[in-house]
């Protein structure tokens, strides 16, 4: 290999693509490199469930032959990646992070896996996750068959979840990108805590066919990457209508950064809740606003008054209990890692249908009002999280109280809005802080443009943990 190996771990997709096309490395060499790193570093961070070496080497050989023959599938061709272990992969276990399902094998491949293969990307690992995507109300980091997700920046801290392995593996340079899923924060949380870019696409942008369902009206799949630009490249490969998932949008998606502007944005700034954030989070957000003011006009906004938290609570608990009912009824939940997940599913089984429908009726009104607000802006910015990642040995209730979701997180997820988080500094215990940009439904490219412009003038996304 002619490429400097020390730079590979944290190279972006575009950088790796250039090395491949200049003949400075090969897909097979990249696969060996990342598998070695997953074994040495990824496992130490509890980020790995299964390393798919045989499949990866076969796919690498194919990519090598195709590239040599001039058959270029695009920017992901020959690039290794990891997938959250809730995506079905034929012949390879798909555990949903749950001990009782450690031998579960599902087929056919999830649509996302299939599309990434068609784009030439190479699956090297199924990555760790919180058991059942956190659907039973876990209250601590140790809630997965692989153990607590560990943060690459501070190994006494949590990686975030539920896409814990996706966050820490990208943050630790074990894969160039990973796929995660978000029902209510599960992409933005690990991406923000691990100091990487994480994109929650508009609901319906990416097919969930072959993904574990937790909440049919809230589940989204999206990429975790080194940069916002990489998130766009991956979204381009996985987005689009899919007859196997009726929730997918009819509109075709294309990532075209050359067509987007890089300044002159109009951004709303949400200060709600910032006063309660940790001091470093507040300071970093304030500095970020200064930086954003060079590329955007900023206006203070407030969210319309809706009961976001209670709506999210009823909808997730009800849909989650229905989606996971067989595991609850069979008693398999008693084999889960976190003791609170043994009984966390029962309350959701008792939610009256009228309560669920009331939440969905309010949700409909909320979506209309939120759209009116978001239509005025290229995005609304807010700290990704008020607190940096929690210590591994602390319950969430003890660390951050019983409030699980910020209003913006609940509102954005309930309305299916796209959001991206990017690192914007460091907070207590040397842990990353982040800023999120939330956009109007369908405006994935607009928030990617804002994020790219922010990253073009800052270097937080280039910082590396010492591992």
């Amino acid at each position: 290999m002619n490429a400097d190996r020390s730079t590979l771990a944290f190279a972006s997709i575009r950088q790796l693509g250039a090395l491949l096309r200049e003949g400075k490395t090969t897909p097979t060499e990249l696969v060996h490199y990342y598998i070695d790193r997953l074994e040495r570093v990824g496992r130490q961070l509890n980020a790995v469930v299964t390393i798919t070496a045989d499949l990866a080497l076969r796919e690498a050989k194919r990519a090598e032959e195709e590239l040599a023959a001039g058959h270029d599938r695009g920017p992901l061709h020959g690039i290794p990646y990891g997938a959250k272990d809730l995506l079905a992969t034929t012949g390879i276990p798909t555990t949903w992070g749950a001990a009782p399902l450690r031998n579960q094998i599902l087929s056919p491949d999830a649509t996302v896996i299939e599309r990434l293969r068609n784009a030439g990307a190479i699956l090297v690992a199924k990555l760790a996750m919180v058991e059942l995507a956190g659907g039973l109300g876990y209250n601590q980091p140790n809630a997965s068959l692989t153990g607590p997700g560990i943060n690459p920046w501070n190994q006494e801290a949590w990686s975030g979840g539920s896409s814990s392995g996706s966050g820490s593996a990208v943050g630790a340079g074990c894969v160039p990108f990973a796929i995660g899923s978000e029902t209510m924060g599960s992409i933005l949380s690990p991406a923000g805590y691990c100091g990487v870019a994480g994109l929650r696409p508009t609901y319906g942008r990416v097919s969930r066919s072959g993904a574990m369902a937790l909440s049919w009206t809230l589940d989204k799949l999206g990429p975790l990457c080194r940069t916002a630009d990489d998130c766009g490249l991956v979204l381009d490969a996985i987005a689009g209508p899919d007859p196997r998932d009726p929730s997918t949008l009819d509109a075709l998606y294309q990532y075209r950064p050359d067509r987007d502007r890089s300044a002159g944005f109009r951004l709303g700034v949400l200060h709600q809740g910032v006063a309660d954030a940790q001091p470093e989070v507040r300071d970093n957000f304030s500095r970020t606003l200064d930086e954003l003011s060079r590329i955007a006009t900023l206006e203070e906004v407030t969210l319309p008054d809706f009961p976001y938290g209670p709506m999210a609570d009823i909808i997730i608990r009800c849909e989650g209990a229905a989606a996971l009912e067989s595991l609850i009824v069979s008693g398999q939940v008693n084999e889960l890692t976190a003791p609170e997940d043994h009984h966390g599913g029962y309350p959701g089984l008792t939610i009256p249908a009228v309560d669920y429908l009331r939440a969905m009726r309010i949700r409909n009104l909320m979506m209309t009002e939120l759209d009116s607000l978001f239509a005025r802006y290229d995005g609304i910015v807010h700290p990704s999280h008020g607190l940096v990642a929690s210590p591994l040995d602390m319950t969430f209730d003890a660390y951050r109280g019983q409030v699980r979701w910020s209003d913006l997180s609940a509102a954005g997820n309930l309305a299916g809005l796209p959001a991206i988080t990017m690192p914007n500094g460091f907070g207590e215990r040397g842990l990353p802080t982040g800023v999120q940009v939330v956009g109007r439904a369908g405006a994935d490219n607009r928030i990617l443009a804002v994020a790219r412009s922010y990253q073009a003038q800052t270097d937080w996304h280039l910082r590396r943990p010492s591992l």
Binding site: P310, H343, I351, R358, M360, R361, N364
Partner: protein
Amino acid sequence: MSERDTQGADPIVDLRLTYIDQRFPGRLSDDQRQQVRQRLLKLHESASVLERFPLENAHEPAPVFHPTRKEQE
């Protein structure tokens, strides 16, 4: 229908807990049962907040129902 009052939630919460006990006899320890009860109380509080939100008869839920028609082969 009158608004649910969180202060008076206990009988409803206990009824829901009884439903769980009946459906899953012997499944919960005393400690687990207490935690399930706490969670039921929170769900009841969430539902009570939503019940105070003004809705009109015509306000439909978020997913719009579409009848299915499979194309004939």
